[in-house]
Amino acid sequence: MSIVRAHDVGVVACETCGWVLPEWAALEGRPCNRCGLLAHARRPRSLEKSLAWLAAGIICYLPANLLPVIYTSGIGGSQDSTILSGVVSFWRAGSWDIAALIFTASVAVPLTKFLGLGLLQWSARCGSDWARVSRGKLYRIVEFIGYWSMLDVVVVGLTCALLQFKTFEQAEPRVGIVFFCAVVITTMLSALSFDPRLIWDGRNRG
């Protein structure tokens, strides 16, 4: 089945407001006449930007997991904890459900995003026509799970706010949490830079 797409009927859809404008106007660089922003047939330099943000995310993922995210001290002694050591201590304490939740949000979700974004970018770069509907769904999944990894930042923030210097048990944030935050933001920017319409473009367009 051949698909009739915006280019085939000579129009461009504005991504911001949904307005449909003639392709020649967009090519001339005229702004959308409804919202006034530039309407692009495809997000400019989509694959390059998306790849750059993805690379930044993968680089930040290492320190995010290797460096401690929180320091706690109290009756049980004092220690620096990484994300994974936090998961392990929940598991050992018998709260496997919380351990699974933190593992999913902090380790599995970023990895899924790396793999998903990598696959989407690579297949779009090749102009592949393989499993287009599923790749469209994959993009939606990557978009949807995007921000759930901020979970650990919230947990560390709340723990440190509750266990302050004046209480006997104390908690302080550690620098790993910044890298963790950076992983979330860079991978979200990578997904936002990726133009899902590229999934449906063949070799002859780009």
Binding site: R5, V11, V12, G18, R34, C35, L101, L151, V153, L163
Partner: protein, 203 residues
């Protein structure tokens, strides 16, 4: 071909001819299944009521403690601001700023802009600064993370309850309500507002 009579799928760029839709019908892309158009499920009055409720709940969430603990006679409290402030140490402040932006500032700006637009939209008018407000709303949408804050609060309760008694404050209930309403508001189709006030202000 007249461009206005076309609907273009924002996911796959497939072109569709627009037809008159029945109430409760929704148009889906025949290629990738994305929703192309749906009639507004809530009118401006109801949306304004929901948004105002969300604003009140937001204020409660920010000004009351979400969690508090009592340790040896010392009481500490936490909500979204205190969580962000406790991350303000040197480099780590960047994480605090991200937390404050995504879980407090962005939802607040979204709610204020929605109220601003809706107060006029229910009379069929565009507000002053309509275009800017709509563009900011569009740009902020991916960065509003109230639901993650709610889940984080629940995990923090589970984590801390092992050592200390954690009390749940009013803020948690307002946060839960706020999360539900924001999710509802984020489902709304806002493209239709662009056609507000085009013909002498009567819609």
């Amino acid at each position: 071909m007249e461009p206005v009579s076309l609907l273009i799928c924002k996911r796959c760029d497939a072109a569709h001819r627009a037809v008159l839709m029945q109430p409760r019908e929704r148009a889906r892309c025949h290629i990738c299944g994305e929703v192309l158009a749906k009639p507004p499920s809530l009118d401006s009055d109801r949306l304004l009521a929901l948004t105002s409720t969300a604003a009140i709940l937001f204020a409660m969430t920010v000004f009351t403690p979400v969690l508090s603990i009592d340790l040896a006679g010392t009481r500490t409290q936490a909500n979204v601001w205190q969580a962000a402030v406790s991350l303000s140490r040197g480099w780590i402040s960047a994480a605090g700023v991200a937390l404050a932006m995504t879980m407090a500032l962005v939802p607040m700006v979204q709610l204020l802009l929605l109220i601003w637009i809706l107060v006029f939209a229910r009379q069929g008018w565009r507000v002053p600064g309509f275009r800017g407000a709509m563009l900011v709303l569009h740009a902020l949408r991916p960065w509003s993370m109230t639901e993650v804050f709610l889940l984080g609060v629940l995990v923090a309760v589970a984590k801390l309850s092992a050592w200390v008694h954690v009390e749940v404050g009013v803020g948690l209930w307002s946060l839960a309500g706020l999360t539900v309403i924001l999710a509802l508001l984020n489902l709304q189709e806002t493209h239709a507002w662009w056609s507000l006030g085009r013909r002498g202000g009567s819609a």
